[in-house]
Amino acid sequence: MLGLNFRSRSARMLSMFACAAVPTLGAMTVHAQEMIRFGAPLPLTGALAPEALKQQQGYNLWAEQVNKAGGIKVGSKKMKVEIVYTDYQSNTPRAVQTAEKLITQEKVHFLFSPFGSGAAKAASTVSEKYGVPTIASTASSAQVYDQGYKFLFGTFTPNDTLTTPLVEIVKQKAPGVRRVAILARNDLFPLAIAQEMEKAAKQQGLEVVFFEKYAINTMDHSSALSQMKAQSPHWIFATGYINDLVLIKKQMGDQKMEAPVVTMIAGPAYQEFITATGKSSENISSASWWHMAARYKGQDIFGSTENYTKLFREKYKVDPDYAQASASVSGALFQMAIEKAGSIDRNKVRDELARMNVQTFWGPVKFGPNGQITSLVPPVFQIQNGKTVVVHPAAIKQGEFKLGVN
C-alpha cells in the first residue's frame, strides 16, 4: 500500500515537473529558432479536401522557399517561418473554433483564412477580435469584406470581375447567343458568382431563361438538366466545385445537351477537372484570378510568374492553378509586409498590408479600403485540346475564344 502511494506520489511529482517543463522547453525551442508562426485552418478532410490540399501546397512552397533563403528579414535578423495547420473537416463552425485555437493556444502570429468565402467570413470575426492580420487566399464574395474589419485582406477581386469580361467576350464573339441558363451550387461563392452572372447577362441584354440552385451534396442533376434543356439555352453557366461540375458535365453529356457556350466556375482551372471529364471538356470556358500564362515580374520571393511555375512544377510535378498560387502569394505578401514593418508587431504588419502597392508573380497587389484586392485583372480561359488557353486579357492572351461544347 505504502509502495503504491509512494509510486503514485512520485508519478504525480514527475508529471507536475513535466507539465512545468514542457512549455518552458517549447518556448526555449521556439525562441532559439526565431520562428514566425502562421496559422492555416483548412478543410483537410471532408467534401472540400481537394481544395484544401491545393492551398496547403501553395503555403508549403512559400514556406520552403523562405526558409531556404534563411527566413524573413525582420529588422536586423532573419526569422524562419512555420505554418501550423488544423483540419476543420469541411465544417464551417469548426473552422471558426480552429481559427480561435490557433490564435489562443498555438500562439500563431498571423493567420491565413479557411477555404472559401463562407468560412473566411465566419473566421474573420475571430481574427478581428484578437487583432490578428489575416489574408484570405480563396474568398472573393463582397459579403466577406463589407464588415468594416481592419485586419482582413483578400487576394481575390470581387466576383463581378470574373463574369463581366466573360459576358463581354461572348457578346463580341457570338452575337447569336441570347438565352442563358444558370445552375448554381447553393453555397456562398458559387451562388454569388451565379448571381453576378445573372446581373451581367441582363445588363448586356441577354435573356436568363433558367436560374436554379442545387443543394450541397446533390448526387444527381438529371432532373434540373432536363428542365434546363427544355429551355434551349445558348449559354449554359454552371457553378460549384470540382465534384459538382464533373458530375454536371457528365450528366449534360448523358442528356446530349449542347450549347455554343458552356461556362463552369470553379472547376475547369484544375487539371483534375480536365482529366475527369476527358474530351467532353473541350471549349468549356471559365475565369479565375490567375493563370500561369501570365508574365508578371514581382518584388516577392518568387520573382516572376515563370519562376513560380518552375518552382511549383519541380516540387509537385504538376502545373500550378490559381488556388495554389493564391496561397503562395498570401505568404509572400505577409513576408513583404513584415520586412517593410521591420517587426512582427501585428498592428505594424496590418498597416503595411493596408498601404501595400507592389508587383508580384500573382500580379499587381493593392488592397482597397475594405481589404479586398483591387488591382488585379482576372484572366478568362477556355479548355482547348485538353489544355487551358487564356483568351483574355489581351496582354496574356494565348488563343481565340471558340464556340461549341458538346
Binding site: 440552385k213 446533390t218 448526387m219 434540373a224 432536363s226 428542365q227 448523358d254
Partner: protein, 288 residues
Amino acid sequence: MLIFQILLNAIVLGSLYACIAAGFSLVWGVLNVINLMHGSFIVLGSYLAWGAYNALGLAPWTSLLIAAPVFFCLGYAIQRGILNRVIAAPVLVTLTLTFGLDLMLNNAMLVAFKADYRQLVLDPSLGSLSVGSLVVPIDRIVATVFSLLLTLALFLVLRRSRVGRAIVAVRMDRDASRLMGVDVPSIYATAFGLGAAMAGCAGVLLAMIFPISPIASGSYLGKAFVVCVLGGLGSVPGAVVGGLFLGIVESFGSLAFGPEHAITLSFGLLIVFLIVRPQGLLGKQGFE
C-alpha cells in the same frame, strides 16, 4: 415531354438507389445492425472498378465478378471476427462499432486514394439512347439492369436457397432458428457478407455514373437510410420500391420546388414515414 423525361430519369435514378440500399436493408433487417460502413463499401467498390478498368482494361460489369466474392469475404470476416462479438448487445453498441470501423476504412481510403475526385471514363463512351426527344444514357441503363439483376439474385438467394431460408428464419426468430439447428453466427456472417457484396457491386456500377471519392460515402449512406425507411427494413422488394419512390419524389420534387429542395424533400419524407408508417411501404410491423 419534359414530364416523361423526368419520369425516365426518376426510374433510372430509383433503380440505382435500390441497388445502393438492398445490402444495407438486408443487414439492418436480419442482424439489426445499422452498418455505417455501407457507404464506404460502395466507394471501395467504385475504386475497385476504376482500378480494374484503368490497370487491366476490365469493364465494370466484368469487375462485378471480382467485387462480389471479394466484398463477400471482407464482410464475412468483419462480421465473424468483430461484429459477432457484440451482436447480442443493444443496437447502439453495434452502431458505434460500425461507426468506428467506418472512420478507419474511410480514412484509410483517404490516405490510399487521396480526396481527389476520379471518374471512370469509358472509352469509347457508351453514349445515350434517344427515343424521340427522350434521352437515356446507356451507362445508366446498364447500371440499372445490373442493379435490378443483382437485387433479383439477392431476392432469389433469400427465397430459394437453403442459406437464404436460414437467413430469413434467423430474421424472424433467432432463438427458434438456433433450436432448429441453424448456426446463427455463421448465418449472421453470411448475411453481412451478402450485404457487403451488394454494396461493393453497387459501387462498381455507380463508378460509371458518379465521381469517385472517399467523401462520397456519407451521401450513399444517407440515401440507403432513406430508401430502407421508405421501402421497409430487411425487404428486398422493399428496397426496390423504396428506391423508385425516392427517385420519383426527388425528380418531381426538383421540378416542382427547384433542385435545391430535392434533398430536403427526401429527408422530410423520411421523417413523415418514421412517424406515420415506420414499417415502410413493404415492411412488416413488429421487428424490434
